[in-house]
């Protein structure tokens, strides 16, 4: 099953990397333009559950890495569920300077909160997202707080330590 899926994905694009690191994992490294096509193809294949969108900040390489993890709930195409369920991981990199990306809401609607969260914590702009409003944070940060160049200790010193204690009664 793994190998046939691997061959099918490899046949779609010429410059795509597909690795099988474990029995239950398939790791696809793709480019930005290929993402929606791959996700649509995988959804039709039965991987209809977008489990997670995550983001990694590679500061030295000046890149953000987006990670999409897909899996399937249903038993389909002779797929085994449970512990032997196959996870498909799609990884792609975007430049750090222009943190622009495309939304995957047309394919997976549940991507909305994940993308809002990543927009808030990493400052990545998702083109086509209906509402990129704040989700968790109450304050505004000059640098989004999950980026590697955000210095939390300096921030704490500047903001929280500068708030005075309440004077005692005389």
């Amino acid at each position: 099953m793994n190998n046939s899926l691997k061959r099918e994905i490899e046949s779609m694009f010429s410059d795509i990397q597909v690795i099988i690191p474990e029995d239950t994992r398939i790791l696809i490294t793709a480019r930005k333009e290929q993402l929606l096509i791959i996700l649509k193809f995988l959804k039709e294949k039965g991987y209809n559950h977008l489990a997670l969108i995550s983001c990694i900040d590679w500061e030295e390489e000046r890149q953000f890495e987006m990670v999409y993890i897909l899996t399937s709930y249903l038993q389909k195409n002779n797929e085994v569920t449970g512990d032997e369920r196959l996870h498909v991981i799609v990884k792609l990199r975007i430049p750090r300077e222009s943190a622009e990306f495309i939304t995957v809401i047309p394919v997976f609607e549940n991507a909305e909160p994940y993308e809002r969260e990543i927009h808030e914590l990493f400052g990545i702009n998702f083109e086509g997202h209906p509402r990129l409003t704040p989700l968790f944070l109450e304050r505004e940060y000059k640098i989004p707080p999950f980026r590697k160049d955000f210095d939390t200790r300096k921030y704490v010193k500047e903001i929280f330590d500068n708030i005075p204690f309440i004077p005692e009664k005389k």
């Binding site: 109450e138 304050r139 940060y141 939390t152 921030y155 704490v156 929280f160 005075p164 309440i166 009664k169």
Partner: protein, 188 residues
């Protein structure tokens, strides 16, 4: 419950009523809430001390803040505190409200809760045992007896400072000041 104290109780019946009916609103902010179910249920039975959980802040006079306080939670804590009727007492539970605890360098966690609302007592520990809540309650009885649990009076008197601190952390407060603010005195 000593018979000798009956005279005193009759003299200060208001205080006695506050002491033995600490109706508590739990603010489930962090991991501290895990200690609350055993406290209010039959294993430790908080009702022996007159501590009953209530549904809304308008019925409560003890505010127990269990666990770390993020900036967003602080907003809800201030709202809850301002809705409680006087006299009201606040107890910070765990090390995180005291000075940030293990979140001392977090970008989104409040470090000293007593900069934003008055706190009458602290329970240190990570996590404190349920017995610590009862020790805190009995300490609070002593404080009420001696007129030392006066956080709510301090909040009224120093409201300008509290409000200024709250506005520094929360960029926009959606409600008007609870008490009138005198601008005669300079804020340092």
């Amino acid at each position: 419950m000593d018979r000798k104290n009956i005279k005193k109780w009759l003299k200060e019946h208001g205080k006695m009523s506050h002491k033995y009916s600490l109706w508590v609103i739990y603010f489930c902010t962090g991991c501290g809430i895990i200690e609350i179910p055993p406290v209010i249920t039959s294993r430790w039975d908080a009702e022996r001390f007159g501590v009953i959980p209530v549904a809304t802040p308008r019925q409560a006079n003890l505010f127990l803040i269990t666990g770390y306080v993020s900036v967003k939670t602080l907003k809800a804590i201030i709202r809850t505190y301002e809705q409680m009727p006087d006299p009201k007492f606040t107890v910070g539970f765990g090390s995180c409200p005291i000075n940030g605890g293990m979140y001392w360098d977090s970008y989104n966690t409040i470090k000293h809760l007593d900069k934003y609302i008055p706190v009458d007592g602290w329970i240190a520990g990570c996590m404190p045992r349920p017995e610590a809540i009862f020790i805190a309650v009995t300490h609070l009885w002593t404080l009420i007896d001696k007129d030392m649990a006066t956080g709510y009076i301090k909040y009224r008197e120093k409201y300008k400072y509290y409000r200024a601190n709250q506005e520094k952390v929360l960029s926009e407060l959606e409600w008007p000041p609870l008490y009138p603010i005198n601008d005669n005195e300079e804020i340092k």
